[in-house]
């Protein structure tokens, strides 16, 4: 089992975004509204396109072969990551692991400060998340799409 350090961006985002005590609720008078460029965590749209990807994946599945064969590149990445991630017992994960995971999720190799806020899609992922029952997507493109959100810190954000 993998014990990666949670410095992997995807894990960090999942862990901290929209979690924790909301300071707005405690501090009102002296709150500084700072522009937050946060990351759209779970934009997953159940679409025809998504379904077609599933259909393609299952169509390509050859039952006589190894389960992993004949699937999109995603799988290859997962296998590679899986092999490297056997860091049983170590609290701090291997640096590779973080990179691999980001590669897989983001679709390319740079896990540092790249483009996370550079896309100009204005999406309100919270609403989308609520509206969409279907949350399935098989693709190597980012499932977590960067979005630029201009949210002043004092905006009352919805509790989970």
């Amino acid at each position: 089992m993998a014990r990666p350090s949670p410095s992997g961006l995807v894990d960090v985002v999942d862990l901290i975004l929209d979690k924790g005590l909301v300071i707005d609720a405690y501090v009102r008078v002296s709150l500084v509204g700072i522009e937050l460029l946060t990351i759209d965590v779970r934009v997953v749209v159940a679409s025809v396109d998504t379904y077609l990807r599933f259909a393609e994946a299952v169509n390509r599945l050859d039952l006589k072969q190894d389960p992993e064969k004949g699937l999109p590149d995603l799988i290859q990445d997962m296998q590679e990551g899986g092999a490297k991630k056997k860091t049983t017992g170590a609290l701090e994960g291997v640096g590779d692991t973080v990179g691999n995971m980001i590669d897989r999720v983001r679709g390319h190799g740079d896990d540092e400060d790249d483009d996370l806020t550079d896309e100009d899609e204005d999406e309100d992922e919270e609403d989308q998340e609520d509206e969409e029952d279907e949350q399935e997507e098989v693709e190597e493109e980012p499932a977590r799409r960067p979005a630029r959100r201009r949210a002043p810190a004092q905006r009352k954000r919805r509790e989970r």
Partner: protein, 264 residues
């Protein structure tokens, strides 16, 4: 630090980024690098038995770079290894140190202290797993003859002729996977929750098979970790499990405050 000199409020003065609250006996997070560019050192603002973890931040600069997000988590997770920690949500900024004392620690200090005591030496662990897509698709085909049949049918159809059937096939597979995510997450919780003080399943997202958080007593940590290892072994080839932690109790802090009977 409650004797800190109040700053003038002006455009140029640094504001105060708040990471979380600890007991005032917690050690200074000397090595921790805060948010912002360049990152400012993280210090404790102590008042009435509790202390806020803060760092100076430029109020005119936007926050939210990958480095900022990592810094926020890193500060909290690092401190949480040594002392009970109540994490605040990313992005909380107040005017100055004086305001942290006057508006946060003074009115809510008792609540924070009670929540910290309840938290004790527990830490959060996150367990996440991803499906081996091939394996789970095979499972679905084996379990659902209707899907397997539709799969065979659509293979033989041209892209145009089979469009509708393929959408239908994909939707059925997607639903079946969602059902498996729920089942597997329930199984995960059922197996691990008895070893923990609290458990919380996160909403299943697209690419995760399972995603749950647990609040674990330090005395049961080994037992918990062994159970996760065992589960990872049982799911080998099907779900790749990852264990993150110990972490600050991001998923449990709201409940802790509520139980402490306070809060705003």
């Amino acid at each position: 630090m409650n004797s800190a000199i109040p700053r003038q409020t002006g455009e140029q003065d640094p504001a105060c980024y708040v990471y979380g609250v600890v007991s005032d006996s917690a050690p200074e997070p000397a090595a921790a690098q805060g948010v912002g560019d360049p990152p400012a050192p993280v210090v404790l603002v102590r008042h009435r038995g509790v202390a806020a973890l803060v760092s100076e931040v430029d109020p005119t600069a936007a926050l939210g770079s990958p480095a900022d997000l990592r810094a926020h988590a890193n500060v909290l997770d690092t401190v949480a290894q040594h002392a009970p920690t109540l994490p605040f949500r990313f992005g909380g900024v107040v005017r100055d140190v004086q305001a942290v004392t006057d508006e946060l620690l003074d009115p809510f200090g008792d609540t924070f202290a009670a929540a910290l005591e309840d938290l004790g030496d527990r830490a959060q662990f996150a367990v996440r797993g991803e499906y081996r897509q091939g394996a789970v698709l095979q499972e679905i085909l084996a379990a659902r003859p209707d899907i397997a049949k539709l799969n065979e049918q659509t293979k033989e159809l041209s892209e145009e002729a089979g469009h509708y059937q393929r959408v239908q096939l994909g939707e059925m597979v997607a639903r079946e996977m969602a059902a498996r995510q729920q089942e597997d997450t329930s199984a995960l919780i059922e197996r691990l929750a008895p070893l923990t003080a609290a458990a919380s399943a996160n909403g299943v997202s697209a690419d995760l098979a399972v995603d749950a958080a647990f609040l674990v007593d330090s005395g049961r940590r080994r037992e918990f970790e062994a159970a996760v290892e065992e589960l990872a072994h049982d799911w080998a080839g099907r779900i790749d499990l990852r264990l993150l932690g110990p972490l600050a109790p991001y998923d449990f802090v709201a409940d802790l405050i509520e139980q402490a009977g306070g809060g705003p």
